[in-house]
Symmetry: C2
Subunit: 226 residues, 2 copies
């Protein structure tokens, strides 16, 4: 379902080179639940962004659901991503002038999905699933850190994506809320949705079918069904 | 050292009231290390901001190191806060146009502390303590999530504050880096610095001398030396 081959990405700052991805290859089968772990700064978010089509590698290829992300044209890639990939950003990336509900339904608005009433209903359901129905009208500045994180998660779910990429989805949540979110993601996985979760939380990694460890931009270990 | 009495803070959004703080009282002795835990949305960050003088309660009082934060004039409060309180924000609050080093030394620049060369040396030492000496020239957009978190931590340490308030300081860190950060904070605590740490991480709370649990804006439990 996701096939990465020889991904390389290097940043240059002040004359110094940072190898964020150094020949990374990995395969994710449809319906897999994989966790990606590793030290701070090891390349996890960079890898997540490349798999999600949000960033381009310097070399190597990424094929998601048969779509070669490097070959796809911008508009085509953007439309594919909007309808097929749910992405939870490590820093949430919410629109500060929009309410929680408006933020959650933005993939539906962008994709022109359904009528306004249908979109709002879907958005409220997604908010209920993360325990935030009573915060639908709050803007991000009127939400706690963990509530913003959950709005980002709800937004990733609203379009029933085939692939969910979640970058540190429980970092601002207490263990109870974190377990709720993971139960929701695992339920979707059992229904066939492919899950790629970047996490520092060993409790989350323990629930994955396979755990990849990345260090200095290379995958150093794979545990679980290989 | 920190005395809070009857703190209340209510937000109103779309006609609905949210009681973020509901008659909160607590005492922190000089040199204490206390952890504040509780569910997402329970009022922890609101409490941290009020103790740190960054936000005002609707009623109740906060006295830090003999300074009544409600009575203090703006400029006086701002100067006191800059030199005596190190604050680590849940969402980091870094300046995106400045480098990691410039972000770290901003409390020294604001306070007019020392010469430029001294400030840069202090800033580099603070970055070393969080393992980021080799990222001094990177701007926040050129850093990973956990690296930004560590820059926010280094900034809180650079001025040798008497009180450190850290809101979820390890949420984006792997367990190794998280333990490094906690070891650093505990070392400062042993030297007499007062620590107030908001955390969802039970491993962090376990190291505190006292753990306060907050739920729906009220303190429901206190464990440890009371
Ligand atoms: N500016 C605001 N306007 C309206 N409601 C607000 C505002 N700021 C915070 N709130 C609400 O107040 C409550 C407490 O927020 P706070 O940020 O203190 O929670 P928290 O305990 O830090 O949560 P988390 O663990 O998720 O960071 C939340 O329910 C939040 O929705
Ligand atoms: N735009 C950029 N310019 C320069 N260096 C960058 C840039 N973006 C990321 N980096 C560097 O690339 C490395 C990998 O970053 P990445 O965000 O993928 O790490 P990560 O594994 O997600 O870390 P964390 O667990 O802290 O979130 C880091 O060392 C970071 O400093
Ligand atoms: Mg990251
Ligand atoms: Mg908070």
């Amino acid at each position: 379902f996701v096939q990465c081959t020889g991904l390389c990405k290097t940043y240059t700052v002040g004359g110094e080179q940072v190898r964020a991805l150094d020949h990374v290859s990995l395969t994710v089968e449809r319906g897999d639940f994989i966790a990606i772990c590793g030290p701070s700064g090891s390349g996890k978010s960079t890898l997540a962004n490349v798999i999600g089509g949000l960033d381009q590698p310097d070399s190597g290829s990424v094929v998601v659901d048969g779509v070669d992300l490097a070959r796809a044209k911008d508009a085509e890639l953007s439309a594919y991503r909007n309808s097929h990939i749910g992405f939870v950003f490590q820093s949430f990336n919410l629109q500060s002038h929009e309410t929680a509900l408006e933020n959650v339904i933005s993939p539906l608005v962008v994709g022109g999905v359904g009528k306004k009433r249908t979109r709002r209903a879907k958005g409220m359901r997604a908010l209920e699933r993360v325990g935030l129905a009573d915060r639908a009208g709050h803007k991000p500045t009127q939400l706690s850190g963990g509530q913003r994180q959950r709005v980002a998660i709800a937004r990733a779910l609203v379009n029933n994506p085939a692939l969910i990429i979640a970058d540190e989805p429980t970092g601002n949540l207490d263990s109870h809320r974190g377990a709720e979110v993971m139960a929701e993601l695992e339920r979707l996985n059992r229904e066939g949705i492919t899950l790629v979760i970047i996490t520092h939380d060993q409790a989350v990694a323990a629930r994955a079918g396979r755990v990849l460890t990345i260090k200095d931009g290379t995958i150093t270990e794979t545990r679980g069904r290989a």
